[in-house]
Point group: C5
Amino acid sequence: MSSPEPSSGRPGPTSPASPAGRPGPAGRPGHRGAPLPEPSVIPENGWHCAHYFYRFRREALSARLSAECQSQFKAALHPAAELAPERLASYWTSGHRADFGVMIMDPDPAKVDAVHQRILAPPLGQFVEASWSFVSMSEVSEYVPSIEEYEKRLIAGGEVAGSPEVAAKVAAYERRLPIMNEQRIRPEFPEWPAACFYPMNKSRVVGANWFTEPFSRRNKMMAEHAQSGMAFAGKVSQLISVGVGIDDWEWMVTLWGRNPEYLKEIVYKMRFDEASAKYGEFGPFYVGYRASAEEILEHCQLK
Amino acid sequence: MSSPEPSSGRPGPTSPASPAGRPGPAGRPGHRGAPLPEPSVIPENGWHCAHYFYRFRREALSARLSAECQSQFKAALHPAAELAPERLASYWTSGHRADFGVMIMDPDPAKVDAVHQRILAPPLGQFVEASWSFVSMSEVSEYVPSIEEYEKRLIAGGEVAGSPEVAAKVAAYERRLPIMNEQRIRPEFPEWPAACFYPMNKSRVVGANWFTEPFSRRNKMMAEHAQSGMAFAGKVSQLISVGVGIDDWEWMVTLWGRNPEYLKEIVYKMRFDEASAKYGEFGPFYVGYRASAEEILEHCQLK
Amino acid sequence: MSSPEPSSGRPGPTSPASPAGRPGPAGRPGHRGAPLPEPSVIPENGWHCAHYFYRFRREALSARLSAECQSQFKAALHPAAELAPERLASYWTSGHRADFGVMIMDPDPAKVDAVHQRILAPPLGQFVEASWSFVSMSEVSEYVPSIEEYEKRLIAGGEVAGSPEVAAKVAAYERRLPIMNEQRIRPEFPEWPAACFYPMNKSRVVGANWFTEPFSRRNKMMAEHAQSGMAFAGKVSQLISVGVGIDDWEWMVTLWGRNPEYLKEIVYKMRFDEASAKYGEFGPFYVGYRASAEEILEHCQLK
Amino acid sequence: MSSPEPSSGRPGPTSPASPAGRPGPAGRPGHRGAPLPEPSVIPENGWHCAHYFYRFRREALSARLSAECQSQFKAALHPAAELAPERLASYWTSGHRADFGVMIMDPDPAKVDAVHQRILAPPLGQFVEASWSFVSMSEVSEYVPSIEEYEKRLIAGGEVAGSPEVAAKVAAYERRLPIMNEQRIRPEFPEWPAACFYPMNKSRVVGANWFTEPFSRRNKMMAEHAQSGMAFAGKVSQLISVGVGIDDWEWMVTLWGRNPEYLKEIVYKMRFDEASAKYGEFGPFYVGYRASAEEILEHCQLK
Amino acid sequence: MSSPEPSSGRPGPTSPASPAGRPGPAGRPGHRGAPLPEPSVIPENGWHCAHYFYRFRREALSARLSAECQSQFKAALHPAAELAPERLASYWTSGHRADFGVMIMDPDPAKVDAVHQRILAPPLGQFVEASWSFVSMSEVSEYVPSIEEYEKRLIAGGEVAGSPEVAAKVAAYERRLPIMNEQRIRPEFPEWPAACFYPMNKSRVVGANWFTEPFSRRNKMMAEHAQSGMAFAGKVSQLISVGVGIDDWEWMVTLWGRNPEYLKEIVYKMRFDEASAKYGEFGPFYVGYRASAEEILEHCQLK
């Protein structure tokens, strides 16, 4: 029988360590001779991210939540608590699947998951059920244009090569890029009142296989897709985090909206972009409204 | 790796605020220089809408519902209660998945969801389980013809351009359109005894991709589809609300029927329209019969 | 955004009432000027039908069912009880999903569902779980040949037009048709010991889309399909009821068999008919054996 | 609307009884004039078969099973008990979905299901949950070659028509066939230690539709497929039973293995046969290891 | 009706034992005359493997786990306990579906499953729910190049046939191959802090059917795929085990990572290989972080 992803057939003297084999001592030279970093759960680039959705187990609640449980709930969701992760935002959610959701980011996956564990710890855990979650990591996408690519796009868009205008725009992009990338890796969460969350894949069906398209074509579709989003500047803010290899979908999309209406509008508009229309596969959608632990308890009539 | 919907590559000086970036202060100039509205959960156009379906947890009921629970149930479903949303209608539902359903509309999503929370609050919540729901927003579809498009369609349909007949019809449409749009955004719910509810998508499969069709072709198919519905005037009334970006399907269809037979007939007839036959993807169907809280309790033998 | 099934674009003076609009007073003139019937849950043509499948909640049964629960069970399933629907048949079912099933028909959907509610009412409801159901309506299919079509088919099949043989057959069909249609709308349930139940759709995939085929071709395939069933006259009896618009599948198939073997054989044979082979999409199959409430309790060792 | 499998259009005087109609009295002449057998749940050809898989409800077990429950368990699974079906074998199963499985065959479906009912009867039923099952019937497949077909295949395979070798082989097949068919209908279960169980369909997708292929081509593919299995003589023994019309898949495959390794190997090898590679659709796979009731309790640490 | 995988049509004198027939006595000559091994659950080649994922049943935990339950948990997960299997590693897992996972290997399937049974045994089993599992077997894939194939690939890659360099590389491969195969069959589990687990199939859809491709083409794709993995030597280690015939997916992939970031990167990179992009079908992904029983209890706040 077959191994679909065998590590076999790796010829050549530069491959002393088998990927399938026992790992050597930490810090020893890797495949290309560069020393490998120490084993760690902290990514070199990117933060761990998790989206958790919960419903209160009303079947077990003959009365409002006890004071002890309410305190536990508020402590678990407090974004500035002592053991809190770098980022934490909570939302009450519409629909029967969940009563509230929490979005968390931190370099350490254990600190991210600890929020979930604090919610589920006794005694509060008796009255809460996790209905869905998605774990991912932040990163700078391969489709983010470099300074050079940015300049090329300007010229391809009709601007005059070597002109002061182009030079000024490139310089501005050069100043903006590190800030934008920082926001992609370690984003500040906006205080806007609405947000929606959904995972997605790029399709691999016969006739619409994203992963067999060359980079140039994928890059072009992603640039057009980005252009679509520009009309929503100031209305919608987004984070794309990566679930490939660690959860059931390839990407997680977080959209924060100045108004829930804009969330509906941007997703509808983008669905006509080739990248989405032809290749997008979407998982469950959750809509949430920014709320503190206290506000969630109040909205859910459990306070 | 890749971000499927990156905010990158946004060149140009009119884009000071990154969609992925920290939102600026409320009310500051937006992308096109127009001032943005204050952050809010109330849509500028459209109301929030929710369909909730529930079953009584018979496994937990050794006797009829207590008087306290019955009172809570009637209060939660009362369409004219103090905190009630703008629209609220309740139905007993056929089939094992749900015993009753509630359809709700209001500008404020928290007022919509509050009905759900009142049903699930202790102590009644111990005996009720939400089996399905769909959250959406009302809107005027892009396929609703403008006055000009309406006139063009008349002429394309054989009427004489510039004739008094056309002028009269256009004038009538001009009077009717605001009323019809009001009904699309803030509909009155008919008192008819039957209704069915189902979500739907437009397909994006290879060979039948709605979202890669040009607007003109989609518009034509939607006009034909609307024509199909005309045979049911006085028999069936409908509301199409939008779930794109906020729930798992793109649209929610509510059909109210003078008789349940007409619901079966209209859906069957419309399934042969190209817009449905080729592109329609349908989710779960629920059929409901208009009933007050009291009537639901009686029907479910819990009173 | 778009409404997939908008009521817009309805031009013309004969359309005073918007399907999306507020319904007028009952009995007012409809679209074509004919007076509309009073709002009602009773179909003009066809009966409501429901198939319910249940399992006993063994996890909650430390001993046999109490005498009170057994009495409630027998009363709920009694086909001749005072409030019983027009038709009611019960079956014990094979397989882990259900212990028993009930098939019900009546003009009034509330009388149909009342059987379900009687089973789930306290105290018996604590020990019963509905595992699946399907609600539908009976009707005379558009593919049932009229007298004229029947005569045409005889001649197309080689018989001599105008011959006494054809005249005799047509006369016989004319006598038989009302009886057959009565049986389609208000069927007597056979006393045969076995039955199987399953819902189905006609596919709308690219390359096999039933709903884009012209009526003539669909009619021909259905006639061939009917022909397949003829070999089972006296062995299998069927009812096709319609779920379009009111439940998740388009049709519900009930097959009663003189022997369970014939159920297996007819479904296998028919699967090769083009109507099934190419267009049939099938849901869950349940097999049941005719049994009274008492026999079900005995079979399930709960008596 | 339409009936997908209407009984309509049945012309001709030999069709006095409508398949959709009320069945006539038992034993009356059938469609072809041959008297029909009495209504019965016992098939004329083939036995009823069921595969049941269960998990112990550990959430309800604060201690080992009581002596009473253990006795009930052993009695229910005893293959030689007074009311036991003709065939009964039990297995402990690997994986989280089930702790044990039971395979049962008998002419009477009530005797087959009685084993399931005995396991679920109080008080043991409180601690057992049926996780999956499949009901089917045994039969001799239409692809089993007749004596004549067998001879033709020999000659097509290069043997000399009319030769003594062919005559001897045909004679041997003639002796073997009834034994093999008996084993297909009323199989003895091997005592081998491992088994795997899975249901399957033949696909009807566009481009790979088994049911639109002519018999000759299906027969050829099945013969090749049978050839694949020959390499496993003495290692793997199989039973194919039919679920068409009575459960959710068309066939149930039971493979008994002298070693679990062979189960993995035969399924992998056969997956490359056209009949499987192109047309096979597979359901859940369960692997089991032969064990008595006592051994299951011991393995599950509940004794 | 049809048997999809009949054992019929097996002509020829070398086939005295029907695969569908009663097995002969152990050790008798098999199909090719070679004596068959004794019936056994221990594979001749390969170990049994299982991946188990669990969540703590917080709904049942009003306080931390009792000391007795904690002891039971630590004993069950102890890799060096008396009855422990050959390999056992435990992980806390991110996401709502599971709190922890265990990966186990042993020649005896009962020893593998015993770990699962020890976790679920009373009293601990009341507080633990198995959320997912996969059972598989280790093996040496048919795509692992033999010494001869390895030499051919070197020459096809541009090296000079008969040169000392080629001879040296071949000799090295000859020394390495048994070690690599040992690692494929009886792998040592690396101590790296992160791991991800997911099952997969090779697709059989029309237009992308892995199983109708010739071996040469599959082999080439697998070699390219292996090449992709080489960039991760020292960063990622893998095991591919086989589920064909014994669980719902064809293969189980285990990736151990020096850093969780590498898991994300390798799966993303490999998704562009033809073997994955076109043919890979992936099941649920679980990410885990190496942890002892004690650390899991601590992370889950149940200690």
